[in-house]
Amino acid sequence: MDCNEIREYLPAFDEQTYETAVMEHLQGCEECRTRLKQYRELGLEMGALSAYDVAPPQWLQAAIIETTLERLHRTAALRAASRRLGEHPGVAAGGALLLAGVAGAAILVKGRHHRKRVELTPAGAVTG
């Protein structure tokens, strides 16, 4: 195996023991040994990097707190409303009927409006 072939194996420095052919080559090739040493140093430094953070923008912490707490409040309010409805099944059923009615009416009005617009298009008019 030549240096180019051996160097395909070197990035796996942390995963397995190398085949005999690779080991033999490494014993006789200082350049490839240097590369392997560099990969190992790279691996160590990469692992150590998790202990080092990058400074976030100064506004970020306050923005995250604001957004997260706002969402927390909204979720809590929805849960409380849902609980209240659950405690009064009559109100919940009435609310559901009302919502269904409003949604149905909206669909009817939209459909009628759409048909009206279609009827108003002159026959044979070129569109687009």
Partner: protein, 189 residues
């Protein structure tokens, strides 16, 4: 580095306690931002992903059962959000060249130790910059595997590729990093 969050703070967050969430954010936001930045390679996207991570945490924090360290679990949630964000924005992203960076690392556990050599500190900073200069699909793998120690199975699942493909990307990323750090650096020096 994610500061380990006290168990009582996590439990209070799971109950929806506002003050506990504030504390959690204070303790972890720099790390969440850093993971996001290392994945997305872009400070604006990283800030957005960090915010989205905490919104997601509101939904999923009850699923944390304490079987793994909270920091490990938080890395998973963060990388997941950052990768989704990266995919969404990859069309309009432009890769950032190494010399356009300069996001300095905060002092780590050995920050105040006078024995830490300037050479190691310099290598660490160059490594941080080199990671950010990698193509995004290579960067995500090397960040998840070599920095945060995630398993190939999980990396492949998050990136929606096979484990074999994830390994190939890792090898290519390591080759590129070695070249950037040793060959190209030596040429510039």
């Amino acid at each position: 580095m994610v500061t380990e969050v006290p168990a009582e703070v996590i439990e209070a967050c799971q109950q929806g306690d506002e003050a506990a969430f504030e504390e959690l954010i204070r303790l972890t936001n720099a790390s969440v931002y850093t993971v996001s930045l290392r994945i997305t390679g872009n400070p604006d996207d990283a800030a957005e992903a960090a915010q989205e991570t905490y919104i997601k945490l509101l939904r999923v924090i009850r699923q944390f059962r304490g079987e793994a360290k909270f920091s490990t679990w938080l890395y998973r949630v963060t990388t997941n959000v950052a990768i989704t964000s990266m995919r969404r924005k990859s069309k309009r992203r432009t890769e950032v060249a190494m010399d356009q960076q300069g996001w300095e690392l905060l002092p780590g556990p050995e920050g105040d130790d006078p024995a830490v050599s300037a050479q190691r500190s310099s290598l660490r900073q160059r490594l941080q910059d080199a990671i950010l200069a990698l193509p995004e699909d290579h960067r995500a793998v090397v960040v998840m595997k070599d920095i945060y120690g995630l398993e190939f199975e999980e990396i492949a699942e998050q990136l929606q590729v096979t484990e074999g493909a994830a390994r190939v990307r890792l090898f290519r990323a390591r080759k590129k990093l070695r070249s950037l750090l040793y060959d190209e650096h030596a040429e510039r020096a």
